[in-house]
């Protein structure tokens, strides 16, 4: 059976590395944590602040088509 896909918008605000594509396809029902782990982020998603539709992301939340993921620098102090 063919797997259904969703389209997730990416807003890459890291300011470093190669800019991520503005839209990424993923399988329907994917959780945010797994989705993030599949993105080519140096260090991994834990090195960034991740927003899901403008709010602090929850890893276990299921993504839907049109959802927006914001990726920003991590708050390390300073």
């Amino acid at each position: 059976m063919e797997e259904k896909q969703i389209l997730v918008k990416i807003r890459d605000q890291r300011g470093i590395g190669e800019k991520l594509p503005e839209e990424v396809k993923a399988r329907e029902g994917i959780e945010l944590g797994e989705f993030m782990e599949n993105l080519p982020l140096p260090g991994g998603p834990g090195y960034y602040t991740i927003l899901h539709n403008g709010k602090i992301a929850e890893r276990g939340k299921k993504l839907e088509t049109g959802d927006e993921i914001g990726i920003l620098p991590l708050s390390v102090g300073g």
């Binding site: 300011g15 140096p42 834990g46 602090i56 920003l72 620098p73 708050s75 390390v76 102090g77 300073g78």
Partner: protein, 631 residues
């Protein structure tokens, strides 16, 4: 000359007496440097309740057992004294080039006491020490002072650690600065220096600091320069400094705005990293032997303002305190205000937060326009910053009141119980909202030297299994993620461990941005650097014990000054919910849980849970029996 000596220099400015002592190597290893070297001396020689601005106060300007060697991210000079802002133990670290200079000149620390009859500076060159007259420098801003000193000494590479007019005039949050752009900020230690008529401490060391294993130091340097700076935390700092935090906090909904009444600044885009790079920043500069080069520099040449990059550029804390806190978004005004603060050596966090308090007091009708000397001190009016800074430094009109900090101003008007005063132990809070990072809240409350963001755990780096604190920081003993919003035992434990770790980083003169989990260099390399430079077979356990000693000694210092558990608190506003943005209606910290966390931390430390006093058995375990008997 080759050296790795930690000789202590003593200067009594009242009678121009200078002497040198060689500390026991066991003492050096047990206390490492920084506050570790300063606190035992202060506790033995500074009488409790001493006026911080009296000749009796002691200023300790220190390095560490590893300073001056060419390792990465280890440039800092650590200044300790009794703080005039808080009345508590005061401490501050600055990067730059001065600490290596002192070490190369053959000294590990300087203890300065007394008061010179007139302005002086101390000149140290390769082991020789001289007190020189500085009447011609008094009143000058920092750039002019550095230029004149270098010229008259005929030493273009002399490193000048100095105060500006803010310190001379006793502004209670005056800074000390080296190389015009590296600040010992917070705590007002510049005012202590000013109270001693001490304009500067100038060093020139032509020696080379020896290391036990130069190959190992070289290997760590090479790794940092090639691989470390390419790691995400290193790369962000190198490319953008700390300023990307503006956007992160703005989008999360926790950018300190309008004296912390809001978490989103409507004109936040204007103070974003992108816009500041477009408008005011030029290429960055670094500190001694550090490839990360995170320090920003600002240059402006327009019809209204000229900003000289010699004085650095505004970092995140300054953009928060003078920008979003006051709802000022003009990058040029912020660059100029920052430059003025730096020329005068004035702490931008305390200044911005005190002005923010005044703006809210004006808005609430507690202060009239006449009392503001006719100035329009209202949120959003950036134009007022420039004349206000001048008034603060000269202590004129309302500037005199702002120069003493927000707590004293509030007390004068009977407003210290109001929710718009945001300070701890008299020090204004920095620009990290504890409502999204409760560990930062614990640090604000528990810090020896008032609200501080440096030694805090910054919970976000331990939030998930792939966060840097968990993924790369296993040597620190935290293996499971900790919820940034929790206040349970796991958070208190995290706070306890990170308090040790960041205190250690400060004591050794390392930069907090150099090492995991805030920077790229692994914890094991930190231990390797100490081993390779000193030749001592130290472990992280031994180093943590040194840090733990100082946390206890600072606690004893404050208890004898009259501080109690009531001072380990958080400003009221952080128990309230956010008023706008994505976190609107949420975020207020649970006050009861917060108090429980404070008490749990006392117990974990081996302190009396009611009085917060270190128990004798803990002090004996740490080898601090002398202080157990006096405590």
């Amino acid at each position: 000359m080759k050296t790795n000596e930690n000789k202590f220099l003593f200067v009594d400015l009242s009678n121009s007496k200078i002497w040198i002592e060689e500390p026991d190597p066991v003492f050096c290893r047990t206390f490492l440097g920084g506050r570790g070297w300063a606190l035992p001396y202060l506790l033995r020689n500074l009488k409790p309740k001493t006026d911080p601005l009296s000749p009796e106060n002691i200023l300790a300007v220190t390095t560490s057992v590893i300073s001056g060697a060419r390792g990465p991210a280890m440039p800092r000079v650590i200044v300790c004294s009794k703080s005039p802002l808080t009345g508590a133990f005061g401490e501050s670290e600055a990067g730059g080039f001065w600490a290596p200079g002192l070490k190369k000149a053959g000294f590990g620390a300087i203890f300065i006491m007394g008061k010179a009859p007139g302005p002086v500076y101390i000149w140290i060159k390769d082991g020789s020490v001289e007190i020189k007259e500085a009447g011609h420098l008094w009143g000058l801003e920092t750039g002019e002072t550095q230029d004149i000193i270098r010229k008259e000494l005929k030493e273009s590479r002399a490193r000048v650690l100095q105060i500006g007019p803010a310190g001379e005039n006793g502004v209670l949050y005056a800074n000390i600065v080296n190389e015009l752009a590296h600040f010992n900020g917070r705590n007002g230690l510049g005012a202590v220096m000013g109270s001693k008529n001490l304009k500067a401490v100038v060093v020139r060391g032509t020696g080379e600091v020896t290391t036990s294993d130069p190959e190992k130091v070289k290997e760590i340097n090479t790794w940092t320069a090639k691989e470390g700076i390419e790691k995400p935390l290193g790369e962000i700092l190198r490319r953008h400094g700390t300023i990307p935090l503006v956007r992160t906090f703005q989008e999360v909904g926790a950018l300190p705005t309008r004296n912390w009444t809001r978490g989103v600044f409507s004109r936040g885009e204007e103070i974003s990293a992108e816009n500041l790079h477009k408008t005011i920043y030029i290429e960055p500069k670094g500190c001694f032997s550090c490839p990360i080069r995170c320090k920003r520099r600002a240059k402006v040449e327009n019809e209204k303002f000229k900003v000289d990059p010699r004085f650095g550029g505004p970092e995140y804390e300054t953009i928060g305190a003078l920008g979003s806190i006051l709802e000022v978004s003009d990058p040029y005004i912020l660059a100029k205000a920052n430059e003025l603060c730096n020329r005068y050596a004035l702490d931008t966090i305390s200044l911005g937060m005190t002005i923010g308090w005044v703006m809210e007091a004006v808005e609430r009708g507690h202060i009239s326009k006449e009392e503001c000397d006719g100035l329009d001190i209202t949120f959003g009016n950036g134009e007022v910053l420039i004349p206000l800074i001048e008034k603060v430094v000269k202590r004129q009109g309302i500037g005199e009141k702002i120069a003493r900090g927000s707590k004293r101003f509030a007390q004068e008007l009977g407003l210290e119980g109001e929710d718009f005063l945001l300070e701890v132990k008299g020090q204004e809070v920095p620009m990290h909202d504890p409502r999204i990072k409760t560990g930062v809240g614990l640090q604000y409350a528990l810090s020896d030297y008032g609200a501080d963001h440096i030694v805090a755990p910054h919970d976000t780096v331990f939030a998930t299994k792939d966060s840097p604190g968990i993924k790369e920081g296993s040597m620190l003993g935290v293996f499971e993620p900790v919820d940034p919003l929790s206040l349970g035992p796991e958070k208190v434990r995290l706070f306890y461990y990170m308090d040790l770790y960041w205190s250690l980083v400060d004591m050794l003169g390392f930069c907090t941005f150099g090492f995991v989990p805030r920077g790229p260099i692994p914890v094991e390399m930190m231990v390797d650097l100490v081993k390779a430079i000193t030749g001592w077979p130290v472990s992280l356990w031994e180093l943590f014990k040194a840090a733990e000693r100082t946390i206890h000694l600072a606690r004893i210092f404050n208890l004898r000054e009259g501080f109690t558990p009531d001072d380990d608190r958080l400003p009221k506003r952080f128990f309230q919910n956010f008023n706008n943005g994505p976190l609107e209606g949420k975020g207020g910290i649970d006050e009861e849980k917060f108090q429980q966390a404070i008490h749990l931390r006392y117990k974990m430390m081996g302190w009396d849970p009611e009085t917060g006093k270190p128990l004798p058995e803990r002090l004996y375990e740490l080898g601090l029996g002398e202080f157990a008997e006096k405590n």
